[in-house]
């Protein structure tokens, strides 16, 4: 179940030290689609003597470092180890270690056990405060404060939305390939706080868990010997309910942006078509009708269109249609087999990510929603099933190499890839929206 971040207080602090601070321009770290040198940033332990001062700094270092856009400086190189987060920093000490930015903070425990964290982001060269924000939350949510601070820094310096205060739903796998256990799993995007929500039952293998846009629900497919079934899981109440049963194999569910509908496909009598079910009112509409395999639907962020894959022209390719099924047309034009399209949540910088198979390799790639500007971001024996971080800059997917287990990986739009921080075999990642 998702932990509620009860009354997170987000208030820009009054500018205490830097009178008349000339704030740095939004978007100082330009995500230029090319690989830029990461920006050096120093994040010493937060002061205040309360719990978690070093741990909070560690979370922020880890988040910013893994983004590839920042190079947190090793604390062992710091000249100052004990930085008072309530005092004006000694900037020459931070220039000397080569840092461009400094993060300082104070942790306080309020009455009632709430944790309050004041943090400031400083431009080391100008000696001015770039950002100052206060967060408060029940102590058990202390990790989320670290993620919120990471998001605030990332947003301020890159001009892009953050993505650190998020969860990943995925399938953890165990056992031999021929008798796989596939268990629904949730974790923070940095690999912490894993949870195994009660799901369809021990006899079922879980597939493709995907979040609703409010982060409160998951939809997924469960496979048993007898067939498939789609389920909705309310993460706040832990209640599971099944979508109505369909004759044939129902697979590939995904929420509409408003959460009221689920698009999916049903395979029956050798034909697979895309359907749209109304979650609350019930009722299902069939959106495609050709005899090919039409599957893997994904909504545009405004909910008016659906991208999907179809082999109606011979091999699987990407197509787009209006949400009522009209206006179906092909998007992908390159050679190769295109599957699992997923529309970026960022309407301002719109992409469709996909899996592409060329010969004996698989790729995660992106293209514009009109099919133009295709770019392949990865290449391996088997990469598949991308999911977007809520800022539309980073994708998570699963990668498998011969003789090894599937693992979760991330890649950003500049092609920086790395293993996701989950230590075991995993697949089918679904990235949550930013938590509330």
């Amino acid at each position: 179940m998702m932990r509620s971040f009860v009354s997170a207080v987000l208030a820009a602090l009054s500018v205490l030290f830097a009178a008349g601070a000339a704030f740095a321009q939004q978007g100082d770290v330009v995500i230029s689609r090319g690989k830029t040198d990461p920006v050096p940033i120093a994040i010493p332990a937060f002061s205040g003597g309360a719990l978690h001062g070093e741990d909070l700094a560690g979370i922020i270092r880890n988040n910013l470092g893994r983004s590839g856009l920042f190079a947190p400086i090793d604390p062992l190189r710091f000249i100052e180890r004990n930085v008072d987060g309530a005092a004006l920093p000694n900037f020459p000490n931070w220039k000397l270690v080569g840092s461009q930015y400094l993060v300082s903070g104070v942790v306080n425990t309020e009455t009632g056990g709430r944790l309050r964290v004041d943090f400031r982001l400083w431009d080391v060269n100008s000696g001015q405060q770039v950002l100052g924000v206060q967060f408060a939350a029940p102590e058990e949510n202390w990790r989320r404060i670290g993620h919120k601070i990471s998001d605030a820094i990332y947003e301020r310096l890159t001009g892009e939305g953050g993505y650190f205060d998020t969860r990943i739903a995925f399938v953890s796998e165990s056992g031999p390939k021929t008798q796989r256990r596939r268990v629904l799993t949730l974790m923070d995007q940095d690999g912490n706080s894993p949870q195994y929500p009660a799901s369809a039952g021990a006899d079922a293998q879980v597939f493709t868990p995907r979040f609703s846009n409010d982060g409160r629900e998951l939809v997924y497919m469960a496979l048993r010997d007898s067939g498939s079934q789609l389920y909705l899981l309310n993460l706040e109440t832990s209640r599971t309910e099944s979508l109505s049963r369909y004759e044939g194999m129902a697979i590939a569910p995904r929420f509409s942006p408003d959460g009221g509908k689920v698009a999916f496909s049903v395979s029956n009598h050798g034909n697979t078509d895309v359907f749209l079910a109304d979650v609350r009112a019930g009722g299902t509409v069939k959106l495609t009708a050709d005899p090919g395999i039409d599957t893997s639907p994904s909504f545009s962020p405004d909910g008016t269109r659906i991208v999907f894959n179809s082999d109606r022209a011979g091999s699987p390719q990407l197509y787009v249609m209006n949400v009522d099924g009209s206006g179906q047309r092909r998007l992908s034009a390159g050679s190769g087999r295109y599957t699992t399209p997923v529309w970026s949540p960022d309407a301002g910088d719109a992409w469709i990510a996909f899996t592409k198979q060329t010969g004996n390799e698989f790729h995660i790639g992106v293209m514009r929603p009109d099919g133009s500007d295709e770019r392949l971001l990865t290449s391996s024996y088997l990469d598949e099933g991308p999911t977007w971080a809520p800022n539309g800059q980073v994708l998570m997917f699963s990668r498998e190499t011969p003789g090894s287990e599937p693992r979760l990986w991330t890649v950003d739009l500049a092609g920086r890839e790395q293993p996701a921080p989950y230590p075991g075999p995993g697949s089918d990642p679904g990235w949550s929206p930013l938590l509330k």
């Binding site: 067939g227 395999i293 010969g359 598949e384 498998e400």
Partner: protein, 199 residues
């Protein structure tokens, strides 16, 4: 382009390996691999049906492919699941990204329909399977196509549709966990599982 050059290298390696070992009958659609036509080198290079770990003596009596079922071998009760597996065959194989019933599958499915006519109380579930060289959701759909192709064949040979259910396991239930051409071929199959009525 970086990725293209790598693919070329990989293709030529695959082509060389294929020419050396004459590995596979089924040639994937998508990659253009210049292999010699397999049938020139090794006619009927179909993969072996999966080994069901039968006792050795059952191999000394090969099943008769046409007409009535071969007499049951010792220790296999007529009308039992084992009888079906041994004397009809419970699995047929497919080419890459294809759901066409191959020539080598027809005798097996003929034997299945004869066996099922002999034991009309038996109900079956056709399970469609795919190899790992495709994405999960597409492979669920492909597996359903394969299972449905087997179902249609059995129905057209007299098995009542009501006795047959169809399911797809996509690439999720391989019978061979390896990552070779051989493993992929084994994993592209339609499995006829008896779910009720066997003796």
């Amino acid at each position: 382009m970086r990725i293209d050059s790598r693919i070329v290298i990989r293709f030529s390696f695959v082509a060389a390996a294929a020419a050396l070992t004459v590995a596979c009958q089924s040639t994937p659609k998508a990659p253009v691999i210049e292999t010699p036509p397999p049938q020139q080198m090794q006619p009927n290079a179909q993969p072996l049906p999966p080994v069901q770990q039968q006792p050795q003596q059952s191999r000394s009596l090969p099943p008769i492919q046409q007409g009535p079922i071969a007499p049951p071998v010792s220790s296999v009760g007529p009308g039992s699941i084992q009888d079906f597996v041994v004397n009809a065959g419970d699995r047929v194989y497919f080419d890459f990204d294809s759901f066409s019933i191959r020539g080598d599958a027809k005798p097996v499915l003929d034997a299945q329909s004869s066996w099922l006519s002999r034991y009309p109380a038996v109900t079956v579930r056709i399970e469609g399977n795919a190899d790992e060289r495709g994405t999960q959701e597409y492979n669920f759909a492909l597996g359903e196509r394969r299972a449905n192709a087997v179902r249609d064949y059995l129905v057209s040979h007299g098995v009542a549709a009501a006795r047959i259910s169809v399911v797809s396991y996509g690439k999720e239930r391989p019978i061979d966990g390896g990552s070779t051409e051989d493993a992929w071929q084994h994993n592209r199959n339609g499995h006829t599982a008896i779910v009720g009525g066997a003796r």
